[in-house]
Amino acid sequence: MAKRKIFPDADAALEGILFDGMTIMSGGFGLSGNPEHLIAGLLRNGVKDLTVISNNCGADGFGLWTLLNNGQIRKMVSSYIGENKLFAELYLSGKLELELNPQGTLAERIRAGGAGIPAFYTRTGVGTVVAQGKPVEEFEGALYVRETWLRADVAIVKAWKADPEGNLVYRKTARNFNPNMATAGKITIAEVEEIVPAGMLDPDQVHTPGIYVDRVIQGPSYEKRIEFRTTRPRKEENA
């Protein structure tokens, strides 16, 4: 019998693998596709001096913001701060280290971490502060900057469904950074809305093969907070 990947809850899934000063990747774009329960588990655990790699740092009152607010994060590696006052204030006042990455460079660095590629070249950021101190080289007449891989001690990701092997399927734009981060953690924990029996996921439609997933929990419920609810009026049906 292979070791079982399914854990009862976030606290159990985080047990024995957290340590102060560790690096954590957390999936999500804004508050969409966030590992809500695992973030709450990190808050309860109190692990500190974290380096957190995540596109954003939650939003006022939600997600990774709660760890920032609780003083657990020493450094963020992100692409976007906008609309997160605490994040901006802590950074501008020198209380938080921040490594800003172009979003695509961030995503590719994470993919490279999972794919065994220590460095790659991109045109993104050439001639900007992002390229400072990094090798810049010409290929076929254009300049490219060298970026390096990112890996984490633990990656926490949110998917829609998992099977007992840890195969994951994501839903809509809640996919975002989750599949890439799932490949780049020494240990990867996935939380999902539903754990389905073996055989219920179509092998052609698995987004993250189970090889990348060490532990899985099914979240009891999902808040899935919307940051900007934008709608259009429904036309009068019988007008």
Partner: protein, 212 residues
């Protein structure tokens, strides 16, 4: 009279061509989607992992798992597709997007663009903007021509930290529609807002402005 946001968006829609794959930035660029001419089809890309953005949802269709890069709720179309962030930026970096329309704080005659921070004062982060300006085939900036103090935002050399170098192809401001001649560092007028003349624009622009 300077153009309104919607008028600027409508002018920016003139940049669209049939079959184009387009990325629209946050703010006025997002409004461009409302002005796509009836006789052309474009596919909108959202860098958080969606190709084929549909209209905003009806109130009962809102789905927190379906947002655009501005974190606004959106919908899909019958031919939409979802993908990861790495795949999304592979698409952008690889030169597969025909056009990006985005905002700016400052642009220079050489095509440099700044739109992500004012050191010590404001930092929002570059998000996907650096990748977009570096990877997309054509970059069109939509912005107010002057800042809140009335200073030109189109300048000889950018003073703010850059988003990209030599990347801006065209500008649509509240004063008009322009092509940027990066070699000469000049703005070439394509259209002016009604009642504005080229002298008015020249007085409010940090680089030479010439008639088409």
């Amino acid at each position: 009279m300077p153009w309104t946001r919607e008028e600027m968006a409508a002018r920016a829609a003139g940049e669209l061509q049939d079959g184009f794959y387009v990325n629209l930035g946050i703010g006025i660029p997002t409004l461009v989607a409302n002005h796509v001419p009836d006789d052309i089809e474009v596919v909108l890309q959202s860098e958080n992992g969606l190709l084929g953005i549909g209209p905003f949802p009806y109130d009962d269709e809102v789905d927190p798992d379906l947002i655009n890069a501005g974190k606004q709720t959106v919908t899909t179309l019958p031919t939409s597709s979802f993908f990861s962030s790495a795949d999304s930026f592979a698409m952008i970096r690889g030169g597969h997007i025909d056009l990006a329309i985005l905002g700016a704080m400052e642009i220079a005659g050489n095509g440099d663009l700044a739109n992500w921070t004012v050191p010590g004062k404001m930092i929002k982060g570059m998000g996907g903007a650096m990748d977009l300006v570096a990877g997309v085939k054509r970059v069109v900036v939509v912005m107010s021509h002057s800042d809140k103090e009335g200073n030109p935002k189109i300048v000889e050399r950018c003073t703010l930290p850059l988003t990209g170098t030599g990347v801006v192809d065209a500008v649509i401001s509240d004063y008009g529609r322009f092509i940027l001649d990066r070699d000469r560092g000049e703005l070439i007028v394509q259209e002016l807002a009604s009642d504005l003349d080229i002298a008015f624009v020249r007085a409010r622009t940090g680089i030479p402005v010439r008639a088409a």
